[in-house]
């Protein structure tokens, strides 16, 4: 499959163009004399309309552009404004609404690359603007209409990680009719949730939740479950990836259209001595949950009945190296105290916290915990509790901000360190899929609000606590979001890709192979018959980076939208604009 090339306006017939120069309020207009630029470029070949505007991106100006295109029967336009990173899609949208091919829009960067960089020299900035716009018009004169590259996609998704997020994603994908390959590192599905008893809210046990999801997965023949397995490689192109999966010493491959990464989190492991960790009577929250989940009746630890418990919150969260809040732990500790109160109402419980974030409905857990006798003491960020451990139990000294900073000592039989979530060390998977990792070590989405499950790697989605600390409910929601996003791509059966990709002029190519070596995406191969091998570029594998075009010794490769002809015309335009 390759991008098609329309003959209209391909250089020989002069296209009909408009030029818009944006003042961007004062961002451009305070430094560049936009009216002068317009007066100079008005007479360039092909220019039918030229005007400036306070904000070219405004709704009213967009409508004026659409009206100009209709009235003057224009083929395209040049808009000299901000960076293409900001408004490429805005102005392509204008073109589409006006019935013009969106790739006939040329954006010239007058703000970041001219007015903002030459605030000390308005006259010089104006002269440079004339050169840049002249070059833009020259490029537009040699522009062509392009149509999106269409690739058919494989209706199967690889889901990496069989915790609640991955399991829920797999079920959702199967329900919309897509095949799933669910890859789990452990011997069975379930992840963290599968090890826990009662979870907030509503108190259903994690084991029961996971049991139900395992049954749902088993009842869906479209889901293939691989356990004791890890993804070790990825090849192929958008919509048709080959993932390599290692199971023990063997490897196998699957072809998939999308990949969902749901590899979860690790519990923070305190260092020895941190709040007494490593001493008898000091445990982490997951260790304490195991104690609660695996026993009944009065709480017994190390052979002794526990009469009092202290909790220290924010251990391994909101500190150096782990600047984030782990979100689930305040609610989980408050809920654990309720489980304790159910089993032993007279057991004393002291919660030492920095800030309580039992957000949303979990606030009820905090209120209930206080009502049932838990004491809450608040310490300052820079004044954490001091822990000392002797044979009798654990002694914790704290300055309680809610008691006017009074120094209080809590004697407890058991100290629970309310530990947060840390990213899993998935270096091999991160390398294999080129996953984007944030400063905190969790995987990064493209946009935290509007594109929360997509990554900058096309076709690779993230779900669950590999992205950031999440509760079970939040992990399940993001698993379903990833399923919806994967399905939105794959249920169409074809994907539309950017046509600004490299093409080979077959007749000219002599098959030297320089471009094959230059391509960072492995998208070029030598192929052909009759002894004449030529470079063949996969339109879906090409990212339009342009690395191949300059290395071709005979100029047989062009990057669509940035052809050699266009670039030469721009250079002439830059020089020509200097004498106007």
């Amino acid at each position: 499959m390759s991008a098609t090339r329309s003959p209209e306006g391909s250089g020989t017939n002069e296209p009909r163009l408009a030029v818009y120069v944006c003042q961007c309020g004062g961002n451009i207009g305070d430094y560049i004399d936009t009216q002068h630029v317009i007066d100079v470029v008005r007479d360039l070949p092909g220019v039918q309309v030229a005007r400036d505007a306070m904000f070219t991106c405004s709704d009213s100006n967009q409508q004026e552009m659409i009206d100009d295109i209709a009235r003057e029967s224009l083929d395209g336009f040049v808009v000299a404004c901000c960076s293409p990173k900001l408004h490429t899609f805005t102005f392509r949208g204008v073109a589409e609404r006006a019935g013009v091919n969106p790739y006939r829009v040329t954006q010239v960067n007058l703000r970041e690359q001219c007015s903002w960089t030459h605030t000390d020299d308005p006259a010089g900035a104006t002269r440079k603007a004339i050169r840049l716009v002249t070059a833009g018009v020259a490029r537009a004169c040699h522009g062509t209409a392009l149509e999106p590259v269409q690739v058919s996609t494989t209706p199967c998704v690889a889901v990496i990680g069989g915790g609640v997020a991955g399991m829920r994603a797999a079920i959702g994908l199967a329900d919309v009719g897509l095949d799933v390959c669910l890859v789990e590192l452990e011997a069975e599905l379930g992840g963290w949730t599968g090890r826990f008893g009662e979870l907030f809210p509503r108190g259903v046990s994690g084991r029961a939740l996971v049991r139900r999801m395992r049954q749902e997965i088993a009842s869906r023949p479209g889901i293939e479950v691989l356990t004791g397995a890890r993804v070790v490689g990825k090849s192929g192109t958008y919509g048709n990836y080959r993932v390599t999966i290692a199971i023990g010493d063997a490897t196998t491959e699957r072809t998939v259209g999308q990949i969902v990464v749901a590899t979860g989190f690790d519990a923070y492991e305190p260092v020895a001595g941190e709040f007494g960790y490593g001493s008898p009577g000091v445990v982490t929250l997951p260790e304490f949950r195991r104690l609660l989940d695996e026993t009944d009746g009065p709480i017994v630890h190390d052979g002794r009945t526990v009469r009092s418990i202290a909790y220290i919150y924010c251990v391994g969260s909101r500190t150096d190296g782990h600047a984030y809040c782990s979100r689930y732990c305040c609610s989980a500790a408050a809920q654990a105290s309720l489980l304790v109160a159910d089993r032993d109402p007279d057991l004393q419980q002291y919660h030492l916290y920095r800030d309580l974030r039992t957000y949303g409905r979990n606030e009820v857990l905090f209120g209930e915990s206080r009502r049932r006798g838990s004491y809450y003491l608040r310490f300052a960020d820079d004044d954490p509790p001091q822990v000392s451990v002797d044979g009798e139990g654990v002694s914790i000294t704290v300055h309680d901000l809610l008691t006017a900073g009074a120094e209080l000592t809590v004697a407890a039989d058991l100290l629970v360190l309310v530990t947060g979530m840390v990213p899993r060390p998935e270096d091999d998977l991160i390398a294999a899929l080129k996953l984007p990792v944030g400063r905190d070590g969790f995987l990064n989405e493209i946009h935290p609000k509007l594109r929360p499950v997509e990554t900058v790697v096309d076709g690779v989605l993230i779900a669950g606590a590999c992205q950031a600390p999440k509760t079970v409910a939040e992990s399940v929601a993001s698993g379903m979001a990833a399923a919806a996003q994967a399905a939105a791509v794959l249920k169409r059966g074809v994907a539309s890709l950017d046509p600004q990709v490299a093409i080979v002029h077959d007749a000219a190519c002599d098959g030297c192979g320089e471009c094959v070596a230059a391509c960072p995406f492995g998208a070029i191969a030598l192929a052909g018959s009759d002894g004449h091998a030529v470079a063949t570029i996969s339109a879906s594998g090409c990212k339009g980076c342009g690395a191949c075009t300059p290395v071709c010794p005979i100029g047989a490769i062009d990057l669509q939208g940035y052809t050699d002809e266009q670039v030469r015309a721009m250079i002439v335009g830059l020089l020509d604009g200097g004498v106007r």
Binding site: R370, T403, A404
Partner: protein, 99 residues
């Protein structure tokens, strides 16, 4: 000087008069509403009771008996603490055991 905290005093006062210090969340609306401007009542005092800080409670004898029992604080309390009932219970404890 660090105080070892324990539940005995709060349990004693709960038995005496349903003392409900636990419900207080320390917001300070009561202090703002007090027509006498008694800044001790009730949030810090209730914390002393909660943690069994007998000496600190005894030291507030004057404050506890200065209260008008006007209930302005109770009207303002978002947590519905029975502040004046608690004060009455405290007065009883101070009279019988506190000296």
């Amino acid at each position: 000087m660090s105080t070892l905290i324990g539940p005995a005093l709060a349990a004693d006062l709960r038995r005496r008069g349903g003392f409900d210090a636990q419900a207080c969340m320390g917001c300070g609306y009561c202090t703002a509403a007090c027509p006498l401007g008694i800044d001790m009542l009730p949030r810090r005092l209730f914390r002393y009771v909660l943690f069994g800080m007998d000496a600190e409670v005894r030291a507030e004898l004057e404050t506890v008996f200065s209260c008008l029992l006007c209930r302005a604080c109770e009207q303002s309390c978002p947590a519905g603490v029975h502040i004046t009932d608690n004060v009455r219970t405290l007065r009883g404890w101070l009279l019988e055991e506190g000296r």
